[in-house]
């Protein structure tokens, strides 16, 4: 979504000739589908197409081979126009076995192309996928174009010269498939060859075999086209999707986990602080810990703690000592950190908490996406414990949201929660790399001078921020803690009037963050429209596209996307009241909807989906239709 200047992402060829194609690779979790998808994404980006991806994989690391629950899929939507979603319906499905076919084929566009590796459609695999008869033979796939290829055998033939064992040879299947896909869209193989050579630098035979498979898949496409062989009714398409118009600049692909890590590093540098990151392994948040642990030269110290609580409390300790403390997790881990967030609120120390949301409650759906931790982020602590909350909408946006979270944390001496989700964390998109000199600095100053009067660690500036005093500073010894603080002095204070005052100060300080954030804008449409679709987080893409299409169809619909979940932008209430109707699509059962109703007494209606899959454009359009009538 990052590159294209144009706004529209309709279904295939449109009057202006712009088009987009949705391809899904599906196979066993051991078939290397995520790798194949990742490399296809790179080649797509290099071809100048705009793109969005959706990796969808099981929670099991190596589920039993051939089973339905072991299917791993990677979907990419690319085109010559702006792309904001991973696409509703695949135009092309590449299914590496019966289980992959069964779990994915129903979402393919009628008339779309289904390529299946018939070498894997033996009785055993058909049984595992609960097929009574072979779908490649029984006519049940009639509404799609079917292309049966014995990819397994073709791969074995291609890598034969390298003397690999059968199992190792078959592992090159994904590269054969990738080669075919590259041919289909007229892509250059060279970057993939380079990547294979560097990935297998120490195993030249494996590199050579994979390259041979890649070339063989590519060559197969050419030959099949020449021969015009039917191969089960379908035929191989071969055409180039034109580059999407894009702003000039340097680009790379980035996943949300990468961009959050980069944004946090950038934020720490803009603040002029060393970073301390405390983490505990959890899906899908671990990737941030992995990225940051390689960036020590940027003043980053990473700490894999004994548990989620130690991860956040160590980060609080580091902030107390003058570093930028950061911790990250997913819902269950965030729940464990709750008490410590209260401590950071009470002691008014800066802290960034990244929550990569996943399906819940409890362990829930660890590898599937959901937006169901909004209440947890805004309300999920004991006592009146206000905390700013920001939600990223895409991998690109996550970079800037991370910087914003750091800014608020240090400028207001408060913990800040940054919400992302499993979809953003894993999805890749092209990213126009910013010029770091254009990023605004917000240098931190510590209190170092002894005051004339008594030291007041809980005195405040105009933002209600207290001073940040590092231990080790001569003469400024003081004590802080989780017990209620006296106004200004910070001493233990149980007095009723004091608690009332301090509770109000903590509330007002966080509400005051709204003074430093941008006014709410309207992403599409205008104030006063008949219907406004309000969203947050990773639902941006499908909502934006759905509203765009509705507008083109002459409907009076607006789109508002909220990035600052708490405090909400100051003008939001007035803006919302201008619309006749409001719907709030969310991947939960209506959490932002509740907050909007509570804050503004507006009749916001929920549109909910909690299947672990992102919204499709069609679903949002249906909701718009329903609420306009």
């Amino acid at each position: 979504m990052a590159t294209a200047l144009k706004q529209e992402e309709p279904n295939n060829p449109s009057p202006d000739g712009a088009e987009n194609v949705v391809v899904r690779f599906a196979g066993d979790s051991g078939d290397g589908m995520q790798l194949t998808g990742g490399q296809f994404t790179l080649s797509t980006a290099l071809a100048g197409n705009d793109l969005a991806t959706f990796p969808d994989f099981p929670a099991e690391i190596r589920a039993p081979q051939g089973t339905l629950f072991g299917v791993s899929a990677f979907q990419i939507n690319f085109g010559s126009r702006a792309i904001e979603t991973a696409g509703d319906e695949p135009d092309v499905l590449i299914a590496m076995n019966p289980a992959a076919l069964k779990t994915n084929v129903q979402s393919v566009r009628p008339g779309g192309l289904v390529i299946a590796d018939e070498g894997e459609f033996g009785k055993r695999n058909l049984d595992k996928a609960h097929y009574d008869s072979n779908p490649l033979e029984d006519g049940s796939l009639a509404k799609w174009q079917l292309l049966k290829l014995n990819i397994s055998q073709l791969t074995l033939d291609a890598v034969k010269p390298f003397g690999l064992g059968n199992k190792e040879a078959l592992r090159c299947k994904n590269m054969w498939t990738l080669g075919l896909a590259l041919w289909m869209f007229e892509r250059d193989r060279e970057p993939i060859v380079q990547w294979l050579n560097s990935k297998f630098a120490k195993l030249p035979d494996i590199a050579a075999a994979n390259i041979a498979a890649l070339n063989a898949g590519h060559a197969y496409g050419e030959t099949a086209e020449i021969s015009g062989d039917g191969l089960g009714g379908g035929h191989l398409q071969h055409h180039k999707v034109a580059a999407a118009p894009a702003e000039a600049g340097t680009y790379r692909t980035v996943t949300g986990a990468e961009s959050i890590s980069l944004g946090l590093v950038a934020g720490a540098r803009l603040a002029g602080l060393p970073m301390f990151f405390g983490g505990y392994p959890i899906t899908p948040a671990s990737a941030i810990l992995h990225h940051l642990s390689r960036l020590k030269e940027f003043g980053v110290t990473t700490f894999q703690a004994e548990d989620e609580i130690a991860a956040i409390t160590a980060a609080i300790g580091a902030s107390y000592a003058g570093s930028l403390g950061i911790t990250s997790s997913s819902g269950p881990g965030i729940a464990l950190k709750g008490e410590a967030m209260g401590l950071a609120i009470m002691t008014e120390l800066p802290l960034v908490i990244v929550n990569s949301q996943r399906g819940g409650p409890s362990t829930g759906l660890p590898t599937k996406t959901e937006q169901s931790d909004l209440y947890q982020a805004v309300y999920g602590r004991n006592g009146d414990a206000p905390m700013p909350v920001i939600a990223a909408r895409s991998p690109e946006d996550a970079f800037y949201c991370a910087i914003e979270a750091v800014r608020i944390a240090v400028q207001y001496m408060t913990p800040v929660m940054l919400l992302t989700d499993g979809y953003i964390a894993n999805a890749a998109e092209p990213w126009k790399i910013p010029d770091v000199d254009t990023l605004e600095r917000f240098p931190v100053s510590f209190m170092t001078d002894k005051p004339d009067g008594p030291l007041l660690p809980y005195s405040r500036d105009e933002k209600l921020k207290r001073p940040w005093i590092k231990p080790g500073t001569p003469g400024l010894m003081h004590r802080i803690g989780g017990i209620e603080k006296g106004v200004d002095t910070g001493h233990i204070e149980y007095g009723p009037a004091n608690h009332q005052t301090m509770t109000e100060i903590r509330r007002d300080k966080v509400l005051g963050v709204a003074e430093s954030i941008a006014d709410q804008d309207i992403a599409l449409g205008k104030a006063g429209a008949k219907l406004c679709v309000v969203g947050w987080g990773s639902t941006f893409g499908p909502i934006h596209q759905a509203v765009l299409r509705s507008n083109r169809a002459g409907k009076d619909v607006a789109h508002i996307h909220i990035r600052n979940i708490w405090p909400l932008p100051k003008n939001l209430g007035e803006l919302l009241k201008s619309f006749d109707r409001i719907i709030v699509p969310e991947m939960n059962t209506g959490q932002l909807k509740t907050i909007l109703r509570d804050q503004y007494l507006v009749d916001a209606k929920p549109v909910n989906k909690v299947s672990g899959q992102p919204f499709t454009i069609t679903e949002i359009m249906a909701a718009i239709e329903e609420n306009l009538s």
């Binding site: 680009y251 790379r252 700490f303 130690a310 107390y320």
Partner: protein, 343 residues
């Protein structure tokens, strides 16, 4: 502790203006005084000293020390201290905790602190009871302890703090008694040790568990009930009339009579603070059949966690520039110009 410039202070310099809020007669008062008395002797700098505590009676301690202080949440002081020390390894960090805080709710953090060997002093005030919550039995309470939550007596076996510490990998284990005059020496040894220094202090909770340590803490019987360990000295008690030996057949410690002061003839062990095997036996020595072992049970430093982290941070940064623009541009990039994209 750190290599630091010695600072001249008096005991007064370590006292805050805060009213001390422990029960009259609480053992914590004695420990507070012992610490405030010891700090000047260490040449410690109040500006560079941080007291970090969890929750419980003992954890109010930082409010009464004129240093930097952080009264945190229940059980988490070791984790907070880890972040503090990693962010600034120059700070002199003391952790104040209790039997419930360190061994029940915070047992996990205590274990990992010791395993990692963060350079700090951890003082565990053991009173074998939950005082601040009004007297429930704790993880160190003896079996059969009657408390509001165990009206018929507790049925679970207690944890042994020093055995736990050693098992978790502690490189310094010591024991003291709140009102004992030897406590400052234990604190000094702990401070001199580089790494996590684990100190169990028997602390008398006069309200909920009064005199629970009286059998070995009472002054008048101390000669017979306490074994004061000194590195390089024989393990003698009862004014030298008794000693500790290792039975070479059973491979267990035993108490022997020492005749005419000839402890060598009796085979009494000479305390070697670096002997980990003997340390394991000392922490398992049950009071009753044996005296209570006090002082430094074990002291054998090895590299600290924060030093290793800092060393790795430096080594892995060597020759690399913190070039943010370069970092953002890493990996395969392409440039879009008017002519379209190119590698």
């Amino acid at each position: 502790m750190n290599e630091m410039t010695k600072i001249t202070t008096t005991m007064k310099d370590w006292e805050t203006d805060q009213e001390v809020r422990w029960c009259p007669g609480c053992g914590d008062y004695a420990i507070l005084k012992a610490v405030q008395r010891t700090m000047p002797d260490l040449g410690a700098d109040p500006s560079n000293t941080v007291f970090i505590s969890g929750i419980g009676c003992s954890s109010r301690f930082p409010y009464y020390m004129e240093t930097y202080g952080f009264h945190t949440i229940h059980g988490r002081a070791p984790a907070i201290a880890t972040g503090v020390k990693l962010a600034n390894p120059e700070l002199d960090v003391w952790i104040i905790t209790g039997d419930g805080d360190a061994l029940s709710i915070g047992g996990n953090h205590t274990m990992h602190l010791l395993r990692r060997n963060l350079d700090c002093q951890l003082m565990l005030f053991n009173n074998e009871i939950y005082g601040l919550t009004k007297g429930q039995y704790s993880p160190t309470s003896r079996q059969g302890t009657h408390s509001p939550s165990t009206p018929y007596g507790s049925v679970d076996r207690p944890a042994s703090p020093c055995a736990f510490a050693l098992g978790a990998g502690a490189r310094f284990v010591a024991r003291g008694i709140d009102i004992h005059k030897g406590l400052p020496d234990v604190l000094k040894a702990a401070h001199a040790h580089k790494g996590t220094s684990f100190i169990e202090i028997f602390q008398n909770c006069i309200v909920y568990n009064k005199d629970v340590f009286e059998e070995f803490a009472a002054k008048k019987t101390a000669d017979d009930t306490q074994l004061h360990l000194v590195d390089g000295e024989p393990m003698l008690f009862s004014k030298g009339a008794k000693g500790i030996i290792l039975n070479h057949k059973t491979l267990q410690l035993e108490v022997v009579d020492v005749v005419d002061g000839d402890w060598e003839a009796a085979g009494v062990i000479v305390h070697d603070v670096t002997n980990r095997s003997v340390a394991h036996m000392l922490v398992e020595m049950q009071f009753g059949a044996f005296p209570m072992a006090l002082g430094v049970l074990y002291d054998d430093p090895r590299p600290t966690f924060e030093a290793a982290v800092v060393a790795q941070n430096i080594a892995s940064s060597a020759g690399k520039k913190p070039d943010l623009q370069g970092l953002l541009n890493k990996g395969q990039t392409w440039t879009v110009s008017e002519d379209g994209p190119e590698l």
